[in-house]
Amino acid sequence: MANRHITIFHGPQHPGITGNMSIELDLLGETILKATTHVGYLHRGFEKLIERRTVIQAFTIVCRICVPEPDPNEVNFAMAVEELAGIEVSQRAKYIRVMMLELSRLAAQFLWMAGQSGSIGLYAVGQWAIADRDLILDLFEELTGGRVYHMYVYPGGVRRDLPEGFLGRVEKVLEHLKTRLKLYDDIFIYNASFRQRAEGVGVIDAEEAVKNGYVGQVLRACGIEADVRKDAPYLVYDELEFDIPTEQAGDVYARALVRRAEMDQSIRILEQVIEKMPEGEIMAKLPTHRKFKLPKDDTWVKVESARGEFAYYMAGDGSENIRRMQVRGPSLVHAYTLLENLLVGAELSDVALIMNSLGICPPEIER
């Protein structure tokens, strides 16, 4: 009888992989016996580069840490610098930052829909989702000049004020997306072929999720109501009304339902932001123009990204340079501690499905 044990590489060149990484799979037939995550295809040494640069120079790098969702990086970076340098940000700048984060969350969820549907062959959803995400990118382009990387949330505030009539255009896009989301429910979320593939697959235990430091939809799909925006509110999230969607099953489908419900909540938050947007300055008055002297101290800041808690450790050393900036996104623990265990016993055809549901972004592991 032929040897039925084989080892294959799932990625980095594979349409079902979420970026530049690979999973080495030991298989018995179609069943996975062992999974090993490999990164190293994209290491750019950002954390090292940032140590040799001033704050304004480092600012242009941070958004590149995560490609599908750069804004949580910008906000974390700005919040950490502001906390160390003792800068107070205006209320208008805080509202604009929330608007950026929620638009970015919506854009990231559309991109996720494109990836997740593609992993089971529902390619029409992907085409739609990318087109709808583009409407949000148009808004980003108008406001910041960049579609994907914005370099907009600067320590002390934001770089530009809103153009004339911008909030009206955001509202128009939201109205359009609200009608579109119902169609996504029909062709994707409640589609029998997706349910059949996703239900009961990649089930995560709630206690394990808490202890092992899993975040985002992984946690909320196990019934745990955890969200940095509620647990440790930052910016103006404590002035806004929204719910944290949860599910109980802990499987791929539950995580998809949570993500879908979160899109509604993002729209709800954005509508309140449009209504409440205060007038005022967008940039704090800095003692020296675009120069920051960070005292010898350290801090830990975090925001809720579309994939879960996203945190930065930052230490200053009394100079204009940052002594250390360490990124802790959801991906490192999800791609190693979680994915390597979750894949054992799963079927080969479910690898992309499970991986997409965990919100793994390799550029953020290899920052």
């Binding site: 808490v210 430091g213 440790a232």
Partner: protein
Amino acid sequence: MNTLIRNRFGTDEIEVKRDDLSKVTVVKYRVFELIHLLVEQYGYTTLNAITCADWIEEGHFAITYMLTTRARRHTFMVQTMIGREEAKIDSLTMLFPQAEIMERDLHEMYGIDFPGNGNLVELSLENWVHTPPLRREFDTLAFVNELHDFREGRDDNLDVKAEMKRLRALKKAAKEAAAKKEALKTEEKEEASQPSAAQKESGHGK
């Protein structure tokens, strides 16, 4: 809780950084005792991250463990200093499985040993034999200059300022040449529009 930690661990201060963030610094050999206490008695059930900062001038690394409560409402930064030479601190993998990958990352970037972690293999750097890259003494520019040659035609990268000066001079010269050419053209046009002396004499210019 703060008084208990202060008395038991002889630490001078528990720094309250924000409502949701406190920091305590303890000596290396008592750090795990404190982490155990926070986990068992005060509900800091999750290890969120292990971070490292290199204080080369003081000769140590600052290792910080970020511990969070179950509801993730409060984070405790437990910091300890370890010597840079033969940097070593026990692994936390017995308590938290996610510590394995966090320690592996720091092992690769700083060369810190974590006894008890059985998987300190390479993560993103392949066959790396040089100084661990995130140590302060690792100079990226010197490393690049030592190991790589500049591609033919890119020699100007060596001195950006000189190159910018040269380009500015070229641009200026081109501008001056264009202005000169323009002036010459206008002169010629003017000359052409004025009738020549011979034409005037023969009466054609009238």
